[in-house]
Subunit: 392 residues, 2 copies
């Protein structure tokens, strides 16, 4: 049998495994040193107690014949779909039906899987620097990819391209740069997509970190966006679900794609894909996600986000004394302009401070000379890391 040759076009190694390898080597050679990671975007605070309670209750249900649940609806239980619609969209004045929301086990999965219903001949535009998954998954599928370099002079906001694109990935609040698209930016992108028959894949996994109340949380706040955009969100960073696994994707009924037989509903195609290749998210995890939308859940999450955003503020203030710093105000990422090559800075920080960050060049050409730190550490470790960097 033949392999999918597109895989031969991938770079040798995915960014984070490569970091993990260097860190492992450092630890092996320096077993006495305490390494602090502000690198990979993983949370450190425990699950909200309201979620733990929901997990335990649902686990007990699963152990009783009367309340046991087997296969659930692939797109998610009604209780969670309703919580999402009422909790995340209604307050923004956005109406969605349950048919438009698909619960999944991760935004990373959705980013990759959604492509399956789209032609491999579509031209893709990807911002640069970028979350590597957008790029790698499109290389695996063999699509033509253009990079849209985001520059410091525009505060790393992607500028509307002059060329036509079929699919555009936008991430706001942005990973890795921490930039956020305003209503004005999004309006321009929606207009561009309408004009060019493009699909926007809008990743707002970090929307809960937006502090400025004037900034848009959802692309559907823009009129007409339902005709051009899919929105991907996750509970990973919203509620510390990185180890629990739950996310969702909105595929509006208005959204259509071209085919030799005329326009086709992307919602219908995705429903077919989702029900054929996926069996739903664990029932107990869906109950935990539902709990986030209770009054107690909202309170616990707010505290969690404030904690991380306080870290972001501390990092930004301290490193702002030495470096030019972006992000960190409406996003858990701090993006530093560094005075050397990104991997050189990575090695320097690791070897001299035992602090792990992420080299900006790992996110693409546009990230060269930059470095990403995250606000997801504990306060104690964040402060300790900053002390060490100060002495650098």
């Amino acid at each position: 049998m033949n392999i999918n040759d597109n895989y031969l076009n991938l770079e040798q190694s995915y960014l984070f495994p490569m970091i993990a390898k260097r860190v492992a080597e450092f630890k092996k050679n320096n077993p006495e040193k305490e390494v602090i990671s502000l690198g990979i975007g993983d949370v450190t605070l425990p699950l909200p107690q309201v979620c733990v309670k929901a997990l335990i209750k649902a686990s007990q249900e699963m152990g009783q014949k009367e309340t046991f649940r087997g296969y659930g609806p692939e797109q998610g239980y009604d209780f969670l779909l309703e919580a999402i619609i009422n909790g995340d969209y209604k307050p923004l004045g956005i109406n969605l039906s349950k048919e438009e929301v698909f619960v999944s086990d991760g935004a990373k999965c959705d980013v990759g899987n959604i492509q399956e219903i789209l032609s491999v001949n579509n031209k893709v535009v990807i911002c640069d620097p970028v979350y590597p998954v957008y790029l790698d998954t499109n290389i695996m599928a063999g699509r033509e990819i253009s990079k849209l370099i985001c520059k410091a002079e525009n505060n790393f906001v992607p500028q509307i391209p002059t060329e036509k694109a079929d699919i555009i990935y936008l991430c706001s609040p942005n990973n890795p740069t921490g930039s956020v698209l305003t209503h004005k930016h999004l309006k321009e992108w929606v207009a561009y997509a309408k004009k060019n028959n493009s699909l926007i894949i809008f990743d707002s996994a970090y929307k809960e970190y937006i502090q400025d109340p004037t900034l848009p949380r959802s692309i559907y706040e823009i009129e007409g966006a339902k005709e051009v955009a899919i929105e991907i969100r996750s509970f990973s960073k919203t509620a510390g679900f990185t180890g629990l696994r739950c996310a969702y994707m909105v595929v509006p009924l208005e959204l259509k794609g071209q085919s030799p037989k005329g326009l086709v509903s992307l919602n219908t195609l995705w429903r077919r894909r989702h029900t054929t290749k996926f069996n739903g998210v664990s029932y107990i995890v869906q109950r935990a996600a539902e709990a986030i939308y209770t009054q107690q859940g909202k309170k616990e999450i707010k505290e969690m986000i404030s904690y991380y955003m306080q870290n972001a503020k501390i990092i930004k203030e301290e490193l702002g004394k030495k470096f030019k710093v972006y992000g960190g105000e409406n996003a858990p990422y701090i993006w530093l302009e560094v005075p050397c090559d990104s991997w050189q800075f990575f090695d320097e920080l690791l070897n001299k401070c035992a602090v792990v960050g992420t080299p900006g060049s790992g996110f693409g050409e546009g990230g060269k000379g930059y470095f990403r730190l995250t606000a997801f550490g504990s306060r104690e470790n964040t402060l300790k890391a900053l002390e060490r960097i100060k002495k650098l």
Copy 2:
């Protein structure tokens, strides 16, 4: 943007949603009747208590800072990989390394996703009747598909084809026919695959239902199978995990695929795919899966399987008086030869007995005139359904 036109080649509706629709209509028109489903292959017994305990313990860990876990290794935690290797393979004399086992959230997902690392130009051979996911996912990918009709005269065991195939799906114990491949059959298939450079995707999701100790549980019991076969397994039917979601796939290091640059390790390709598009199974679910391999876990599962297999025996004996019956001895599926069209029998059974089964024709041409019942009901419902069918 353009859609993936291959989706236009799919049949209108996936089998089980179509059944659900007819049942919903029947219930609406007959609200007083109690419908018994022996249709979709979903379990009804609650989770083993040992799994519930593991879920609760792991949920509590997730709520404490000291024991919280965020992103885990995408391919699964070592504790589960080791439990699988030592529990499922060592007793069969099969040695696997942890690098060869990938934990996932479902066999259905694995069946579809594994194709991504394989060329769309590979010719696929699929048995017929067949689990519809093999077929639909390959149609979505646009592959050329040949059907290998499995006949009653061979006890529904697929016979080695004369033509060359690049990829072959084998399912044993079989869904829907309940047939099981012997060592002799598997040896023939492995020899065929070696001769033709084919890849066997061996789905043994129902291996725990094998009662006959002389039958193979794993394709790797056959010498040389690691060079030609991927094995897919699931905890759904083994331990009632249909609503919990956990499975695994073995991609041996020996397995190679062709490319313009020479032979490529499928294990390396799959690791890349798995780490790029997937973020691991929920930690708490992995702990529940681990618990299955404890002494208490093994005991509870054995009881669960016996319960279902006792149902299978009862169905087989009773319906054997009226119909020609296959399967049900080493598989939870009972495959009936019916005296009319499969959907006609479905409607008859639904309308006259309020019993739901699965029309054999839903599994392909080769299933026409057959009907699938499952042993996953409660004893009470199984007996009640048989009483009603008796009166038909």
